[in-house]
């Protein structure tokens, strides 16, 4: 579903250049839930933005859902869903209107858009909230709308940037269930970024451990634990073994994440 080859992104120019992503090479098979795991500033969001065409790589490339990022960015956009860190539900207007706009921007006619929006509202169990605006909802409810907006056009692959950041434990568990449903019942490939080790362990089939823009480890949570000599008790130990640093250590992020 995704083949990344030497994907790199440098912000700014020398001597102030910041290499946010350095030569990432990996593949993602259809139907997997893959987690980009790393502390804040490791390069996860930049990787997400590269794979979703929001940023252009400095070097390297990738194919996403069979389309090349550089040669056919529009083809990539038609085939992916994206839920930004912090979400994308606007304030001050009914979310139903935003969902209909989103559907129509993926080429649906108005009747198609209305039918599809009704389906998605049912799927995410938010039909009774659709007339409300973002600021009147809880964090968990807003997250459901974020996911609905990202999945309206039935993308085969969806990118979720820190999908549970800032949510309470109950809302986090709800999002985990939704992600599992997307993969299990609808066959969607999910790529998510997270700095929560428990989320990586509980939700992801496979982890790409990112450290200072580089791929430091690649495998299932169980495989990664077994690779540590003597076996690791948890992913914190894995991260420390792979990078020499604790997973909680914040890394300097470039300012220009436009």
């Amino acid at each position: 579903m995704i083949e990344s080859s030497g994907l790199s992104k440098t912000y700014g120019k020398a001597p102030a250049a910041v290499e946010a992503v350095r030569g990432l090479t990996f593949t993602v098979a259809p139907g997997q839930i893959v987690g980009l795991l790393g502390p804040n500033g490791a390069g996860k969001s930049t990787t997400m933005r590269l794979l979703t065409t929001l940023l252009r790589p400095t070097s390297g490339t990738a194919t996403v859902a069979g389309r090349d990022l550089l040669a056919d960015p529009e083809g990539v956009r038609r085939r992916i869903g994206y839920v930004a860190q912090g979400g994308s539900t606007p304030y001050g207007q009914p979310l139903l209107e935003e969902l209909e706009l989103q559907a129509m921007l993926y080429g649906m006619s108005r009747p198609e858009a209305r039918r599809r929006v009704a389906e998605v509202l049912d799927l995410f169990e938010v039909a009774d909230l659709a007339a409300r605006s973002g600021e009147t909802l809880s964090g968990g409810q807003r997250r459901r709308f974020d996911l609905a907006l990202g999945l309206l056009h039935r993308p085969p692959v969806v990118f979720l940037d820190e999908p549970t950041a800032g949510l309470d434990p109950g809302a986090r568990a709800e999002v985990w269930d939704l992600v599992r449903t997307l993969r299990g019942e609808h066959g969607v490939t999910v790529v998510l970024s997270t700095h929560y080790l428990d989320e990586a362990e509980a939700l992801c089939d496979r982890l790409l451990v990112i450290d200072r823009g580089r791929l430091a480890g690649d495998g299932s949570p169980g495989d990664l634990r077994e690779r540590v000599p003597g076996g690791a008790a948890d992913l914190e130990e894995v991260f420390r073994w792979l990078t020499g640093r604790p997973a909680s250590e914040e890394q300097p992020a470039p300012k220009a994440l436009v």
Binding site: L105, G107, R154, E185, H186, V258
Partner: protein, 254 residues
């Protein structure tokens, strides 16, 4: 949701998507009536509190076109505020990941700003008519077209600049730029009264020519050199602004 319907995007196109975004923005605008009204307050105050001072100069015919351009600079010129909020809320990224053409994203926003400008202008002209302005209907229509052309360019560049300037810098920069542009346009007094250097400086700005064209149009003089020049300058300005704004939009993922 198991089937992946990737043919859905086949309907996307600049005109269609621009209309989809514009219609969405118009619905948003319709819910913000107070903001719509407040955007026109400053030119209305000039009309009511400054206009009577110019009675000897044919105040309404001279002043109203200038206030329409002032309104354009204040309203469409600051239209980028909306996109700042969309960018902060993650809405803009979501739209940029959709297959919608970048030009449609920009034009949908810019034309929303133009629609707001035209509504506010209608309010200003209505009040001016109550005070004594007597514009011919054709002149009003042509003035609205000219104002829409200028407003679209201003709103487009405003949206693009809002994306590249720091949030905290956008408002002070734009409002600071708008003041000299308004004064140099001759919005409040004819620039023929100005000393040579100021008149020359004014002639180098596009809005001077828009104001003079609007004055002729609202006076019912349609085939004049000022209308020709004002139209040409306004169209060129708008095309340049939209082209520059599209370039900025496209470079956002550099």
């Amino acid at each position: 949701m198991t089937s992946v319907n990737i043919t859905l995007g086949a309907r996307n196109g600049v005109v269609r998507d621009t209309w989809v975004i514009l219609r969405h923005n118009l619905r948003k605008t319709a819910r913000q009536k107070i903001a719509l009204l407040f955007g026109a307050v400053q030119p209305l105050l000039f009309l009511l509190l400054f206009g009577p001072l110019l009675s000897g100069l044919g105040s309404w015919q001279m002043l109203v076109p200038g206030l329409l351009v002032q309104l354009g600079l204040l309203s469409a010129g600051l239209a980028g505020f909306g996109i700042v909020f969309d960018a902060r809320a993650g809405v803009l990224d979501r739209l940029r990941v959709s297959p919608t053409p970048r030009l449609a994203l920009l034009l949908g926003q810019a034309l929303g700003g133009t629609a707001v400008l035209l509504l506010q202008s209608a309010l200003l002209v209505a009040v001016a008519t109550a005070l004594g302005l007597r514009p011919p209907p054709l002149g009003l229509v042509l003035a609205a077209v000219l104002l829409a052309v200028t407003g679209t360019g201003l709103a487009a560049i405003s949206n693009a600049l809002a994306l590249v300037l720091d949030d905290a810098v956008f408002a002070p920069v734009m409002t600071t730029v708008m003041v000299p542009l308004t004064l140099l346009s001759g919005a409040f007094l004819p620039m023929s009264m100005a000393p040579g250097w100021l008149n020359a400086l004014s002639a180098a700005t596009p809005f001077r020519h828009t104001v003079e064209a609007l004055r002729d149009l609202l006076a019912g003089d349609y085939l004049t050199p000022a209308v020709g020049l004002g139209t040409a300058v306004s169209v060129a300005f708008s095309v340049l602004c939209v082209a520059l704004a599209v370039r900025i939009f496209n470079r956002l993922n550099a």
